[in-house]
Symmetry: C2
Subunit: 181 residues, 2 copies
DNA sequence: CAAAAACATGTAAATATTTACATGTATAAA
DNA sequence: TTTATACATGTAAATATTTACATGTTTTTG
């Protein structure tokens, strides 16, 4: 397996909060969940079918306008149990954080390599932009600075903001140090 | 593609430093590179063959003892160019950091969920252990606190240590806050 | 009202990744 | 000297992930 089907649990988790269509789930990966997992609709639709076969979810058809049919999925009792079971299991893996920039950096041996500075400034710009985006999300989703029944979401945003703050600071330091060489 | 063959470049990068066997490369993923990428020997051996077909690397046989043959791979000029090209390209992706614990946390809605505290203490223990491991690596590989022709390696270790320090501190804070509820 | 953008759902093919299967040698420890 | 461990190299099968192919509807914008 290339990662023990965590997508399955994400889908169950999302459906445990709201009934959703495949399209809605796809969208979720472009916002909230996109911060810490990725998936395409071509992976999601077949999986929804499989989860329904396993009776972890079910769907009913809704018709929009004249003929557009959408499938609104709900989690079943069995699905809720599988989700809860997953949440209660240990998570001992600490999977390697695959970061292509860090990978490249590993192969830069000296501070005077002409590739280094462009790499650092590019990453600085990217991570600063991401940090701003996350801060906007936080302000938008938790305007009164409290988590209100959404502790998990609040925490992962806080975590991501801290991560990007730290990442950006590291890059700034590094750029400064290398400049004054 | 499930990630535009970054393994290819890791192998080229490793071979640009030293001639290595497939076994050596496999081992590298259990130490240094394991901090930020993973790969199994069953992925490495076929890829070495492919890279040799593409004339990015070549090998010579070495015999150990009576009959154990090992293939010592070297990077070719063409391989060096491909590696350098990769290093010089932009890295604009900022791929989602797939962290199963964060994923689970997203689906914990309230601070009084009985699953929360065990999750947090488990992760605290794991990240603290990882931090210690990284600090040991740093002390071992850069005892005189300087990077000496290995800037990249030094920086990725520094980066990982900062990341784990921050992660651990976040968990400690969180545990403290939830305890005193 | 025409056009563009967003909604909506799939399949196919290529590639990447993990786990399991398979085999044998050399070296260090007991 | 036997035994365990590390060295060494592969293949097969299952699964995951990405990119491309494919089609059609509804809503918003100009």
């Amino acid at each position: 397996m290339a990662q023990r089907n965590q997508l399955k649990f994400i889908i169950l988790g999302l459906l445990s909060e709201n009934d959703l269509t495949g399209y809605d789930i796809t969208k979720a990966f472009e916002s909230d969940i996109g911060e810490f997992w990725s998936a395409n609709h071509s992976q999601i639709y077949p999986l929804l079918k499989r989860l329904e076969d396993e009776q972890l979810i079910s769907h009913k058809l809704e018709v929009v306008g004249e003929k557009l049919e959408k499938k609104l999925y709900s989690i079943t009792q069995s699905g809720k149990e599988v989700l809860r079971q997953w949440l209660s299991e240990p998570t001992p893996e600490l999977s390697a954080t695959k970061d292509e920039f860090i990978l490249k950096l590993y192969f830069i041996h000296t501070a005077d390599d002409p590739l280094l500075m462009p790499m650092l400034t590019e990453q600085h710009q990217l991570h600063e932009a991401k940090l701003h985006h996350l801060q906007e999300q936080m302000a938008k989703k938790f305007p009164d600075h409290t988590s209100q029944n959404n502790l998990g979401h609040f925490l992962i945003l806080q975590h991501a903001i801290q991560r990007e703050t730290r990442y950006t600071a590291w890059l700034v330091d590094l750029i400064e140090k290398i400049k004054t060489d």
